[in-house]
Symmetry: C2
Subunit: 201 residues, 2 copies
Amino acid sequence: MAIRYPNGKKHTYPARLNQSEKRLTDTTFSNRGMTLEDDINTTNSYYLNRGIAVIHKKPVPIQVVRVDYPVRSAAVIKEAYFRQASTTDYNGVYKGKYIDFEAKETKIASSFPLKNFHEHQISHMKQVESHGGIAFVIIRFSHLDELFFLPFQALYTFWRRMIEGGRKSIAKEELLACSIPLKLGLSPRIPYLDAVESIYF
Amino acid sequence: MAIRYPNGKKHTYPARLNQSEKRLTDTTFSNRGMTLEDDINTTNSYYLNRGIAVIHKKPVPIQVVRVDYPVRSAAVIKEAYFRQASTTDYNGVYKGKYIDFEAKETKIASSFPLKNFHEHQISHMKQVESHGGIAFVIIRFSHLDELFFLPFQALYTFWRRMIEGGRKSIAKEELLACSIPLKLGLSPRIPYLDAVESIYF
């Protein structure tokens, strides 16, 4: 079923990507993370179509090993592997500022495990901030469908605590104190730029 | 052989990506574009390591259709297809500003064919500029190994001329008038941020 925005515009995901990801989801991750990703992609399309921001999800990094060329115009990749992303999933520009973020969700109700982030993602976001960019994460507690906007600086405080031997997660009450709750809407679905606006502008 | 910068730091490409791209190159594109891409990746590593900018190449978008899981930790993609990129290849942050660019080369000596760009890349760069980002292209004439930094606004003038029925390429003398020549160096290899600095800051 085609989703239509209140403005009458038809929402379309890149058809083939969506198809491939759906298949992957079906076979491997049991829908883990897809809802959040879909919601963010829908949000980014909304921001793009309304002329609010240009923010895209980066393609999944894949190492291609073998390609067949039955005809020159139709290369078929026959052997490839998923690689670990070296940066975050989303980036772009909003009001001239560089925006960079990652979205993660957990099924745990009382805390958010920091192992959801890779060390190179943390160091990437740290570099982004040191160059004047805006870095943050969107965290979803899937159990109650709660969403939080956590600025990188806050995330980094919890990350450092872990590195120094402290707890390996962010307690829910800590998150409530350091983040901005994001309320799911229709357009945009996840109004994360409102949080960006309130913190950085 | 490991490449070493004059500062003694060892330069490393992401090993597996490099391997895969080399294989692809061997079989399909006869080295087309790889030199320029390698040089830009080297340059971006230099800028990153020196704390000058955080600019990365986006992964090649691939539609994954079939994945085998001999063991859970080692997914093997058995059928996938290259998709057309919807944005540009490189983006990141420099001095707080959003940077977005594409790199292309031609074997033609006297002009640069505009068909090297896709319409959605042009509209993407147009959107980036309208949101206060910095968009440009790096053009290489492989015959004489000449490199030019062309701001998006100049590229867009030539693009519009084509759309309105004019010539489908940028004449070399036009390019000389509208662009900044980039001199290949050792560190950085392609000092494109010098051009960014001179135009936008």
